[in-house]
């Protein structure tokens, strides 16, 4: 009997401890994951936004802007009944979404198909270190929800395309182009013209930004201004050209300003204006634009574009800001990083030519490389060509055999190195001693991935 009692007591104690653990776990979950945000991977039909009077909490939250005669109660209610689609949750989309949510926009569609990476965090300020690998749309929606849980937030984890753009854009009042590539900019423009939505568009690169509201009150659309897409090879993106994080930050904030003015009913003054921000001189300039063009292919009087087309074909590039892989050389003019590793290991005489610009060489380099930027080769800069000739004859002097000197050309990802090989091939008979030139496929980033994990990636 006594045995039975102590056994039951022990079992009860176990159960109580278990209960305690479960309760603590539950409390933890409830504290961390209050609202569960659902990531959407296709376009769904949204219910219309309801008109609601301002609650006491709303009045307190928005009091500092309700005091502005330019906004007031009417403007605030207009905001709460407006929906905005943010195309791209990157350097522009993050600050834009943040201010729209803070100001009390009714519904926020957040679209991005990318995942958060470490190299995004210097400018894409809604994402966090813990969000690496997470869908950007979800990461942005989570951050926005923490800021203002009364804003309806819809994260779309999908790529905007000719198939889904109209159905999506038709459901929103205002569209903000925060994308990072040319095909998406033409797609968003055409979809906005066809759906008759104002398009608040911003862009940023390096130390510059631009802002215009397209398709708004008789003003031009993107195609009125830029009828022909630029050739793909003339377009620089942020992963190639770089960008100071605060520059898209400033442009995204300006975008938020114009969206708020349109949504609240005040109206934007950027409908026929191209605002340019020069971050080097901290200067803004505004160019007065022409109105809508009657001969425009999409918004003109006799439009030739009446439905969405293939924008990647139109622009000759993919709808991404990731690097394109060029393929300019035949196989016998290229070697892999593994093959180059063998050249180094065998201590065979050769010259390693790094054609990246100095700013990238400062980040990291292979110790034995000679650095001559591609631009110097292209411009035929005398001093640099002299340096190249000297380096070649010096390396030739160290060679045991008689044959041509192998020159291996490297850059970041293996595009510029191919262009450099083509240039050197042309020079090798006339201006340079006899050499054989090959490019190292995939460049230093492939070297880091496949040969030396200690070598930094950027």
């Amino acid at each position: 009997m006594a045995d039975e009692v102590s056994c039951l007591k022990a079992r009860l104690l176990d159960k109580e401890t278990e209960l305690d653990v479960l309760k603590k776990k539950l409390a933890q979950y409830e504290k961390n994951e209050k609202p569960c945000i659902e990531l959407i991977d296709k376009v769904t039909t949204l219910t219309p936004l309801e008109s609601k009077p301002l609650s006491n909490e709303d009045i307190m939250r928005y009091s500092r802007q309700l005091l502005l005669p330019e906004l007031g109660v009417r403007g605030q209610k207009n905001l709460s009944q407006s929906s905005v689609l943010v195309v791209g949750c990157g350097g522009l989309g993050c600050p834009l979404a943040q201010y729209l949510a803070a100001a009390g926009i009714g519904r926020l569609g957040l679209l991005d198909y990318d995942e958060v990476e470490l190299s995004n965090l210097h400018r894409q300020v809604l994402h966090r270190e813990e969000s690496q690998g997470q869908a950007k749309a979800l990461s942005a929606a989570t951050a926005v929800n923490r800021l203002n849980s009364t804003v309806e937030c819809i994260p779309y984890n999908l790529q905007l395309s000719s198939e889904n753009a109209l159905q999506l854009i038709q459901q929103y009042d205002i569209v903000a182009d925060c994308s990072d590539n040319v095909p998406t900019r033409y797609l968003v423009n055409d979809a906005c013209v066809i759906s008759r939505k104002p398009l608040v568009s911003a862009s940023a690169l390096r130390m510059e930004g631009q802002l215009t509201v397209y398709n708004y009150r008789g003003g031009p659309c993107y195609r009125c201004l830029y009828p022909v897409p630029p050739p793909a090879e003339t377009v620089t993106n942020c992963s190639d050209g770089g960008v100071l994080g605060v520059v898209p930050g400033i442009m995204g904030c300006l975008q938020a300003l114009e969206v708020i003015k349109i949504a609240s009913g005040q109206g934007s003054s950027c409908g026929q204006q191209l605002v340019m921000f020069d971050a080097l001189d901290t200067r803004f300039r505004s160019i007065r634009l022409r109105p809508r063009q009657p001969e425009c292919a999409v918004c003109g009087e006799k439009p030739s574009v009446t439905q969405l087309v293939d924008y990647e074909a139109l622009c000759g590039s993919a709808a991404t800001d990731k690097c394109r892989r060029l393929n300019l050389l035949s196989k016998d003019h290229r070697i892999t990083v593994q093959e180059y590793k063998a050249v180094v290991d065998n201590a065979s005489s050769h010259l390693l030519l790094d054609v990246r610009p100095p700013v990238e060489v400062d980040i990291c380099r292979l110790p034995i490389s000679l650095n001559i930027p591609l631009s110097s080769l292209q411009q035929g800069k005398g001093g640099h060509l002299q340096l190249l000739r000297e380096s070649i004859s010096q390396s030739k002097g160290q060679m045991s055999g008689d044959g041509p000197l192998p020159v291996y050309v490297i850059c970041k990802q293996g595009n510029d190195s191919q262009k450099a090989v083509q240039l050197l091939e042309k020079m090798s008979t006339s201006e340079l001693d006899e050499i054989t030139v090959k490019d190292i496929c995939g460049g230093l980033m492939a070297w880091s991935q496949k040969i030396d994990p200690e070598f930094p990636q950027y």
């Binding site: 990072d180 040319v182 191209l274």
Partner: protein, 88 residues
């Protein structure tokens, strides 16, 4: 008749990269049209040809379409060459 005016040409985005200048002072004949202006800039900087049909040209912060109409230039006028930016 052959009067020249000194205007400041501002290069933005890709055009600054291609020309190697952010701004320069260029003498222009008084009766230059926007087409002649672009041709002259191309002569100064042949690399700008890569941006043919891709730029917004502005004179005194006002858009000008490429055409034969004379721009009424004056000393100190600002001409801007603005290719689109697409990054974000």
């Amino acid at each position: 008749i052959n009067t020249y005016y000194l205007v400041t040409v501002l290069y933005f985005a890709k055009s600054a990269e291609l020309t190697g200048h952010r701004s320069e002072v260029v003498p222009l004949p008084a009766a230059t049209s926007s087409c002649q202006l672009w041709a002259l800039l191309l002569e100064l900087h042949p690399s700008l040809a890569a941006l043919q049909d891709q730029v917004v040209l502005a004179v005194r912060q006002q858009y000008v379409a490429l055409g034969d109409q004379a721009l009424l230039l004056a000393d100190g006028d600002e001409v801007a060459v603005v290719p689109p930016l697409s990054g974000g």
